[in-house]
């Protein structure tokens, strides 16, 4: 006897059991538990907290289908503001804790970065890549973890692009630039928070005005609002556990450099890998790097959430041009993220939520890159919408 599930009706327990992909759900939970056990054995409960925060982020991203890439594309193509406003809400929630704590507590710090050609070029190229790959830093992580083989290829390209970018970043930094500008340095913890929230509100007003002029929708769908608040809260948890705002792409760079070392390519003498932070990360366990911990949590959380609801990774592979777009988009994002000091999470969310001016510069440049990337999508058989 076949059972037909009607949307909105409560699914019988037997149907839920049949739709759960136990091997992949079990693997995701077991690997997460193993990673938590390893870092606890090292005597670091805060590392376990980062893995758990990442796991939660993976679930929330997947369930709310929170997408920076699609939101920005809808805004640029149709003028729809809902997704972009949800992203600004996410940043405002995170800023409530990050700006004052990073300014007032010595053990915490904000996401800062220099302003210069490297930031602008990197963010612009990242924007092109995110529209070709159809996912950004967090998007690539949670969709790859959620069972999209296409995004697994984008992730591989992302990692390779990050490593190439790490080798070229010092040359781009030599083009010049100015030191980071942080609102809390100028106005103190609470003045910095007020200025940050005011800048987010101003951006929201501009986005709404553009949407109204184009006759497009403004209100974010409810799942996006819930997702934005939940992701903002988990970003705060990652900040409290890691001491810095949540970031993604340094982890990819480290994974790529370690993989290159395994294949006999020694990067340790490259200028980037001689800087104290990267040098320490390359020599240490990957589980000692904060962004790797949250990245692994997101991948596994998304895998668990996807496998809990339906058979995992059952879709067929997309056409070759679409796979090529994923690979090229991933490469561009990786290269751009290294030059631009992060992705939409580390640079845009983390930067703006820290009250750092580079976050807004990154956003403007990446949005410009998105406009170019949207025009390139049809070359790979992807829609402009």
């Amino acid at each position: 006897m076949s059972t037909t599930l009607i949307q909105g009706a409560t699914a019988p327990a037997s149907a839920i059991a049949r739709s759960t992909d136990w091997p992949f759900l079990g693997a995701a939970v077991a690997i997460t538990a193993l990673l938590i056990a390893l870092v606890i054995l090292d005597g670091e409960p805060r590392s376990a907290a980062l893995i758990i925060a990442g796991f939660g982020l993976g679930i929330v991203f997947l369930k709310s289908e929170f997408s920076f890439t699609a939101s920005w594309r809808r805004f640029l193509v149709r003028g729809e503001a809902g997704g972009l406003l949800a992203a600004l809400l996410l940043i405002a929630v995170a800023a409530l804790v990050i700006v004052p704590m990073a300014a007032a507590r010595q053990s915490y710090g904000g996401a800062i970065a220099p302003l210069g050609p490297s930031l602008v070029i990197g963010a612009f190229v990242f924007g092109i890549g995110m529209q070709l790959a159809n996912g950004c830093g967090s998007g690539t992580l949670y969709t790859a973890g959620g069972g999209s083989g296409r995004m697994l290829i984008a992730l591989l390209g992302f990692i390779i692009g990050c490593v190439v970018g790490s080798l070229q970043l010092p040359a781009f930094l030599a083009l010049g630039g100015i030191d980071p500008i942080l609102a809390s340095d100028l106005l103190g913890p609470w003045g910095g928070l007020a200025a940050t929230l005011a800048s987010i509100a101003a951006a929201a007003v501009i986005v709404i005005a553009i949407a109204r002029r184009r006759g497009a929708g403004i209100a974010p769908p409810r799942p996006l609002v819930v997702g934005a608040v939940a992701i903002g809260a988990l970003a705060i948890a990652a900040f409290l556990a890691g001491g810095h705002p949540w970031s993604v792409t340094f982890g990819f760079t480290l994974w790529g450099a370690k993989a290159a070392s395994l294949m006999g390519v020694d990067l340790s003498n490259a200028p980037f890998w001689q800087w104290p932070g990267p040098k320490h990360a390359l020599g240490d366990s990957v589980l000692s790097d904060t962004s790797s911990l949250t990245n692994l949590g997101i991948l596994l959380g998304a895998m668990a959430a996807a496998a809990a609801g339906k058979p995992f990774a059952r879709a067929s592979w997309p056409p070759l041009p679409s796979l090529a777009a994923a690979a090229i988009g991933g490469l561009l994002m990786g290269w751009g993220a290294r030059l631009g000091f992060g992705c939409n999470i580390g640079a845009f969310v983390g930067g703006v939520a820290s009250g750092s001016l580079h976050g807004w510069v990154w956003f403007a440049a990446a949005l410009g890159g998105c406009a170019v990337g949207i025009r390139l999508r049809p070359l790979f058989g992807l829609s402009r919408d």
Binding site: F272, G277, H280, A313, G342
Partner: protein, 52 residues
């Protein structure tokens, strides 16, 4: 696609465990920003320092 995922999961886990078990672990997880002179999440130095 499931086979590819199973393979990626197995290889990724093996590489991660091998790296963790053969590399020193400083205990507390850190970010490149935690080190002196870092001016970005990747640990890049500030332009004012580079000019010197």
């Amino acid at each position: 696609m499931r086979t590819v995922y199973a393979l990626v999961l197995a290889v990724g886990l093996a590489a991660l465990l091998a790296d963790h078990l053969t590399s020193p672990s400083s205990g507390r997880a850190v970010s490149p920003e935690d080190f002196a002179g870092a001016c970005a999440p990747c640990g890049a130095p500030c332009p004012s320092v580079q000019k010197k």
